[in-house]
Amino acid sequence: VDQRSLVERAGEGDHDAFAALVRGSIARLDAAARLILRDPELARDAVQEALVQAWRDLPGLRDPDRFDAWIHRITIRSCLTILRRRRRRVIEVELTPTADVPTPDAGSHVVDRDQVERALHQLDPGMRAVVVAHFFLDQPLPEVAAALGIPLGTAKSRLHRSLQTMRAEMAADARPDALELHRGQLA
């Protein structure tokens, strides 16, 4: 069964069809939410709220072929809504034990990944959402802008600044004396 048929059936109230759609997309939605929120429990809340809204509003989706983009948008907005609700709470970041911090090595893939992860965490949620939506969910920038409710130019500049910030963080991270700076950091 193709996705379009599933979306059409789900929009007419077929929950089995919706369940099939969810099972095909929830892994990526959950991962995106964890990247943006940095907290698996918050990600769970965000994805659940997004999927409930999607089920509720699916009859209003005009073009079934746009389901993926539509559900991505709902999830991103759900993440930001949850963050806004909790913005006064400090989110504790799990510290990486010193022994586990890899020795910087420009050729190491593991270092690359960890550097990117730490650099990503330095971004504010709005900028992280732009990076995750564009590079992980593969959304074109105009759709990212629309999902976040910001002008296209703002989305472009946020992406540019995000990448600049990440590069700077990774450059600092690559210096051995910079390792301690990341320990105990708060979101």
């Binding site: 959950d30 769970r44 509003d57 983009a69 806004r84 990944r113 409710g149």
Partner: protein, 437 residues
């Protein structure tokens, strides 16, 4: 220098690295989420008239709130005078006031993509616009000297490539004029009291399609004297929809809008002059998705009725708000799912939809304290995606009910309700001309 220089390498590797960081996997709460959605009531498709439907709502809107018309009888009188060889110069049609009660006039309706006119409910129909064009959403201009209709000029109904043009023609269908050029989902329009301008909400094609029609809807102005193009109003809002000229003078357009608040959108009812100046909120801000749905004005412009979607109970409620004092009144039954009110010509009653047990029912409610609602027309099964609508006749004595699921239209006594009379020729409803009282 990080290992990602030169610039560009970071971007190239980010998709893979993000996947490694987050490791997409089916989360263990998937079944829990599905249990929640299975227990959640899906929002009926008919409650998305502003967003999903390309034409039917426009069809109904064009039928009912297209308020004042000049006289079809004026044209007939002129023809009679010509035939008799009498002078006609200086004769001027007697027009109804732009807002408020009027006398019931001719009927215009569509069938099979063509447009027909009946001079009365029981008169023989005349084909006025035929041919291969797919025409629908018929109505009259405010001056009563023209009919209006929409024509699908590209794509199929509901498809992303569908394009719809707004047309005006003489009462006999001659000299059709394309007022708007191709539009995407022109789901609502209204005409200024002097007939010089139309304002329409349609989708801005520059916005991403996945947002859905409601998030892409913007207001456009049509200069009736210079047809063929629309001018964006260019309001500083995320989206705008359901525009109506506000009585008694029509100097403002009232509509539902959404604006950016932080990183979220919120909705309100707004007013603006037709030239785009004087934009102001008439209500507090509310939820962007759920509040201030389909705001419609009383004929005198004092009240607005709007609908709220209540997420917690999965239903709607209807409000009537005094735009002068700010008093806001819940008029629907809080234990039921009821929405989408439309005022009677004298502003004393509303029709609305009651949704119960998979059925749609048009109701009538007097707005005086203590009034009890009563049904107008039968309770129709809610066929997937279809819905029922009900509007008052120009004189307020009838409610005409259309069920798009069964393609049935009925005429019901507005004062007593009941099942009314089926009008077999009006499967899509119809537009009713207003005549001077």
């Amino acid at each position: 220098m990080s290992s990602f220089e030169p610039a560009g390498r970071l971007q190239a590797r980010l998709p893979d690295l993000l996947s490694e960081i987050a490791v997409p996997r089916i989360p263990d709460y998937t079944d829990d989420v599905l249990a929640v959605t299975a227990a959640t009531r899906q929002r009926p498709r008919w409650t998305f008239p502003e967003r999903w439907l390309p034409v039917i709502l426009a069809r109904q809107r064009l039928m009912a709130p297209m308020i004042p018309w000049r006289l079809l009888t004026a044209l007939l009188a002129i023809l009679a005078l010509v035939a008799a060889g009498l002078f006609i110069a200086g004769s001027r049609p007697h027009v109804p006031p732009p807002f408020g009660p009027a006398r019931n006039g001719a009927i215009v309706f569509d069938k099979g993509g063509d447009v027909f006119v009946r001079n009365a409910l029981d008169a023989q129909p005349s084909l006025v616009v035929g041919g291969p064009g797919d025409d629908f959403a018929t109505g009259f201009t405010r001056d009563g000297r023209h009919i209006t209709f929409l024509r699908r000029t590209a794509g199929t109904e509901g498809s992303s490539d569908e394009r719809i043009d707004g047309f005006m023609a003489n009462l006999d269908g001659s000299d059709p004029v394309d007022l708007t050029g191709p539009l995407i989902a022109p789901n609502w329009w209204d005409e200024s009291p002097d007939g010089a301008v139309m304002v329409v909400h349609a989708v801005n094609p520059k916005l991403p399609q996945f947002l859905g029609d409601d998030n892409r809807s913007k207001l456009y102005v049509v200069d009736v004297r210079h047809p063929g193009t629309v001018r964006p109003m260019g309001l500083p809002l995320l989206s705008e929809m359901v525009p109506s000229f506000r009585g008694p003078d029509g100097s403002e357009i009232v509509f539902r809008g959404r604006e950016l608040v932080g990183s979220d959108s919120e909705s309100a009812i707004y007013a603006v002059h037709v030239d785009g100046t004087g934009l102001r909120r008439l209500t507090p801000l509310g939820n962007g998705n759920d509040d201030y749905l389909q705001p419609l004005l009383s004929p005198d412009g004092t009240f607005v009725t709007y609908t709220v979607w209540r997420t917690a109970v999965g239903g709607h409620e209807i409000h009537v708000r005094n735009l002068v004092t700010g008093e806001d009144r819940l008029v629907s039954d809080p234990t039921l799912d009821e929405g989408y009110g439309t005022f009677s010509p004298d502003g004393s009653r509303i029709t609305y939809v009651r949704y119960t047990d998979g059925h749609n029912q048009i109701m009538v409610l007097g707005l005086a304290p203590g009034s009890k609602p009563y049904a107008a027309g039968p309770s129709y099964p809610a066929v997937g995606g279809q819905y029922v609508s009900g509007y008052f006749s120009p004189d307020g004595r009838y409610v005409y009910v259309n069920d798009s699921g069964s393609s049935e239209t009925r005429l019901v006594d507005a004062m007593t309700g009941g099942d009314g009379q089926v009008l077999p020729w009006a499967s899509h409803g119809f537009g009713w001309q207003r005549l001077a009282p």
